[in-house]
């Protein structure tokens, strides 16, 4: 079993938010849940199971998973650090933040530390431009960054026992 009974039940509940015959609409939320259940990335078997649940072809899942930047198609570190470096963040020092993290972790943008603890990625504007520079780890936004704050964030995350993912399952509540 790829997903627990509880997770599959949650998936089916989300599918009911869309009209009869339109359950494919649930694909993005289901992929988010699947990713959170699977160490933060989507393998082919995981995507195939989502296709089965939605009664669609696997290709319909792959073409979507490859389109959106929040879906990881390769394993990532326990802590995925995403630093924004678009205009407003760049103006307030985002490149220095990236360089600082690269130096601290000994990896380059796009790489994972050999111990699998951290992956560093730069991303485009996260809608936090007024509190720049900023970074995101899982669901959490870290704003108005300084080198000291970054050091503290790295410290806090170095011994995570679970993967940082964008959602926890309580995000979806039942309205029925």
């Amino acid at each position: 079993m790829l997903f627990s009974d509880k997770t599959e039940a949650l998936m089916r509940q989300i599918m009911r938010r869309y009209p009869e015959g339109r359950h494919k609409s649930a694909l993005l939320p289901l992929l988010h849940i699947a990713q959170a259940e699977s160490d933060g990335w989507l393998s082919v078997p995981v995507m195939d199971r989502v296709a089965e649940i939605l009664s669609i072809q696997p290709i319909e899942v792959y073409e979507v998973a490859t389109f959106y930047s929040m879906f990881q198609l390769k394993p990532v570190g326990k802590c995925l650090i995403e630093v924004c470096r678009t205009s407003s963040c760049w103006l307030r020092g985002a490149n220095d933040i990236v360089a600082h993290i690269e130096q601290k972790l000994g990896i380059k943008n796009g790489e994972t530390t050999p111990d699998g603890k951290f992956t560093l990625r730069t991303v485009e504007c996260l809608g936090s431009c007024g509190t720049a520079p900023m970074l995101q780890i899982g669901e959490k936004y870290y704003e108005d960054l300084t080198f000291e704050k970054v050091d503290q964030i790295l410290e806090e995350n170095k011994n995570r026992d679970n993967h940082s993912t964008y959602l926890s399952k309580t995000t979806f509540q039942n309205h029925e």
């Binding site: 009209p19 073409e63 959106y68 205009s87 760049w90 380059k108 936090s128 309580t170 309205h175």
Partner: protein
């Protein structure tokens, strides 16, 4: 002195909860609309208000609503665009985080006007914590009889669902958003048909921005005529401005349309002036897609009149000397900022976000990013500036959706107003460190 409509109660402790929101006059517009007005009368008030879409295009909301097809027996949908991904824009996030019930109330009142029994809020995936806040507010609204069946005994039924995106700026374009909501890649549709006729699941659909829908609340409460007393000419009401960059007080400000740009930048109740004693160099007034203007042109029009924060005044002079209000993402740069580098960040952004359907956009944005990268790397030539100009001109107007234009305009305006800066950078063979881009998804999937 400034009047606030959306943020009037934003500082009230606990305003994110139903009880406090209701105690401060919340859900009055829904009560008024559902109990005392016909749906047509609500549309009429929105028309009278002169409200224009706050998502970027500024299209009159009342008119958009009146275009909605109403065939018998076919469901109609309201979809709220909370994809907020335009660089420099963070107002919708602020609104949803601090006063989520204002959006829920606006969705209910608007859905009543449109005859929609189901509505969706499409929130950019990175905002999962906002989704949690909205889910909580929606649950409270159900509990208190503002959603579900037979709302407040009026016979009107309505359900609202929150839908997460997954990281794609293009899904803010309304037809891409609908594709995405249907569980597909975010490829914009060819229009017509417009969503008002064939939208979500081929049904008549209205897509509106978060701020637009929230503004329906004060419009219904106070009447459209009252709303259009604020502002100047066709720029009525208040607007949320996201201010960022080299200013003392970045943040979200609700302004009455018509505030002078100079006052917005320098006065203490807005941006509080420049961050350091370096002077103002340039402003991108409406999010990354709009033309950048140098200090003299953003403060004054070419007629020497003070530039105002209105759709018309910011556009005065056309693209030769003007810009656009856009989404209200106001990015301020002082003299330390390189316009060339700033343009590189925008061009990289549009290249990354192009959906790839049209070759001018897909190839053009990639090529422009490469050229700017080469210039920043110290290998640019003077002909590169003309090449950039030429490429952007060939993208503009030749694509399925406006992302192509949005990628072209920043390039055109940067060259138009700052050509000497490009020339100087190239002639000095100057070099600026560029973080290499590793964020593109691999094409092959791994098992």
């Amino acid at each position: 002195m400034e009047r606030k409509l959306l943020f009037k109660n934003i500082d009230v402790p606990g305003i994110a909860t139903y009880d406090v929101y209701r105690a401060n006059g919340g859900y009055a517009s829904a009560e008024k609309a559902l109990k005392t007005m016909t749906p047509e009368a609500v549309v009429e008030e929105v028309k009278k208000s002169g409200l224009r879409g706050r998502g970027g295009a500024g299209f009159p909301t009342g008119m958009k609503w009146s275009f909605l097809a109403r065939p018998e027996g076919v469901p109609r949908y309201l979809v709220c665009n909370a994809d907020e991904s335009e660089p420099g824009t963070f107002k919708d996030r602020y609104l949803m985080e601090h006063i989520p019930h204002l959006l829920i109330e606006g969705m209910l009142t608007s859905s009543y006007a449109l005859g929609a029994k189901t509505s969706y809020i499409y929130v950019r995936g990175e905002f999962f914590y906002i989704i949690r806040i909205l889910e909580k507010a929606i649950a409270e609204a159900y509990k208190n009889g503002w959603l579900g069946k037979n709302i407040q005994g009026t016979g009107f039924d309505h359900d609202i669902y929150v839908h997460p995106g997954a990281g794609a700026y293009i899904c803010g374009e309304e037809t891409a958003l609908l594709e995405s909501l249907e569980g597909k890649r975010g490829n914009p549709r060819i229009k017509p048909p417009f969503p008002a006729v064939k939208g979500l699941y081929d049904c008549p659909t209205v897509v509106n921005n978060v701020e637009t829908i929230a503004a329906v609340v004060p419009i219904v409460n106070d009447g459209g005529e009252e709303y259009c007393k604020i502002g100047i000419g066709k720029s009525t009401g208040t607007k949320l401005i996201s201010a960022s960059g080299h200013i003392k007080k970045p943040g979200v400000y609700e302004i009455e349309l018509g505030v002078p740009v100079e006052e917005f930048i320098y006065s203490d109740h807005f941006c509080g002036g420049m961050l350091t004693d370096r002077k103002l160099k340039a402003v991108v007034a409406g999010g990354s897609s709009v033309p950048i203007l140098p200090a003299d042109l953003i403060l004054k029009t070419t007629n020497g009149e003070p530039r105002l924060m209105t759709y018309e005044s910011l556009a005065d002079g056309g693209f030769a000397t003007g810009t656009m209000l856009g989404s209200g993402g106001f990015i301020v740069m002082d003299t330390s900022a390189s316009v060339v580098y700033n343009l590189y960040t925008f061009t990289r952004f549009y290249h990354h976000e192009s959906c790839g359907q049209c070759s001018p956009c897909r190839e053009g944005t990639a090529w422009m990013e490469k050229i700017l990268h080469k210039i920043l790397d110290g290998h640019g030539t003077m002909t590169d500036i003309d090449l950039l100009w030429d490429i952007q001109r060939k993208i503009e107007g030749n694509t399925i959706c406006p992302l192509g234009d949005a990628a072209a305009w920043p390039v055109a305006s940067a060259i138009r107003h700052f050509r000497p800066e490009f020339e100087e950078f190239i002639s000095k063979q100057a070099k600026q460190e560029v973080n290499h881009n590793n964020q593109h998804q691999p094409l092959a999937v791994t098992s």
